[in-house]
Symmetry: C2
Subunit: 183 residues, 2 copies
């Protein structure tokens, strides 16, 4: 069986900032914590992705409380942390080297926002030849107003964003199913 | 003023195959042809992206009628054509070299499908530091059923996909506005 790495994207205090609007999938952090526990118990590889925004107005900018990982998903000693500045965790980072070193070709991708950094990272991962699995209850979206003024709920953004990735880029499942299938 | 390249993604006969489902934005090819004419008149750089699917069941596989460019947007002699095998035009291709050679840092991105290869290419382009402009009437989407069975019209997929790219990855405008602002 191929070694699967658990990837946790951008789950930092900044995601609780009100500027992003109403969030859906409020249990995503709980599901990610359960996945982390399952991975740690089996000593499987975990990679934490931290967003270091270059925008001075962003709650994700380095050196602030917002930039720190949320307690419930914080890295443990020895777990690799990859810092990124763009949306994709593969651009301007050493993520590819970290995954090569771990001899990983399959990724379970979790985190926030599904429709932004998770999406950009998943699309690149698939293009680079990785198998990608997304537990739908461990990724979260926010409400969105489109460029014509129509409002979309976080639940609809979540459903459509997952559907656009399904098949072509990723397999969509649940965290319980993933944990249940671990060796 | 920065030189803008016009990028046309995957507008091959294969996109008319019924397997993709009902398509919206039926006038996208007309808008792309108008953009191509405006670019050619001013001798501005154009890059054509051709999808060479590795899936034997895909209408985009090389050596078939489906793989050929649609007549109305076909490359003219001397215009670069970049062949890709994944959704992103930057993965496994020389697109970056072609754009560097043209000294281009701004892209007007058109083509199909907005929610698939256009999206994957735009997200990478922005991450790689390009300015990206999308004329909303020169990109097209198809109807989609999500993983929970809900149907989404091509018009809704188009609106939400554009909205997810807007600001963070691209500026959304119209082909008329772009042509009107050309030098």
């Amino acid at each position: 069986m191929t070694t699967q790495a658990l990837i946790v994207i951008d789950v930092q205090n900044a995601i609780d900032d009100p500027k992003w609007g109403r969030r859906g999938q409020r249990e995503a952090e709980v599901r990610i914590a359960e996945l982390l526990a399952a991975w740690r118990e089996r000593r499987l590889p975990i990679v934490h992705i931290r967003h270091d925004s270059t925008d001075p107005a962003s709650p994700y900018r380095p050196g602030t409380q917002g930039n720190e990982f949320k307690d419930e998903v914080a890295p443990q000693i020895g777990e690799p942390v990859v810092d990124k500045r763009t949306n994709s965790a593969f651009i301007g980072t050493d993520l590819m080297d970290v995954l090569d070193e771990l001899q990983v070709r399959s990724l379970v991708v979790t985190g926030v926002l599904l429709e932004n950094s998770v999406d950009a990272t998943v699309r690149m991962a698939a293009g680079l030849g990785f198998e990608v699995i997304i537990p739908e209850d461990a990724v979260a979206s926010v409400d969105r107003k489109d460029h014509r003024g129509k409002n979309w709920s976080a639940e609809d953004v979540h459903a459509l964003a997952l559907s656009l990735l399904e098949g072509e880029y990723a397999r969509i499942t649940t965290s319980a199913e993933i944990i249940g299938n671990l060796p």
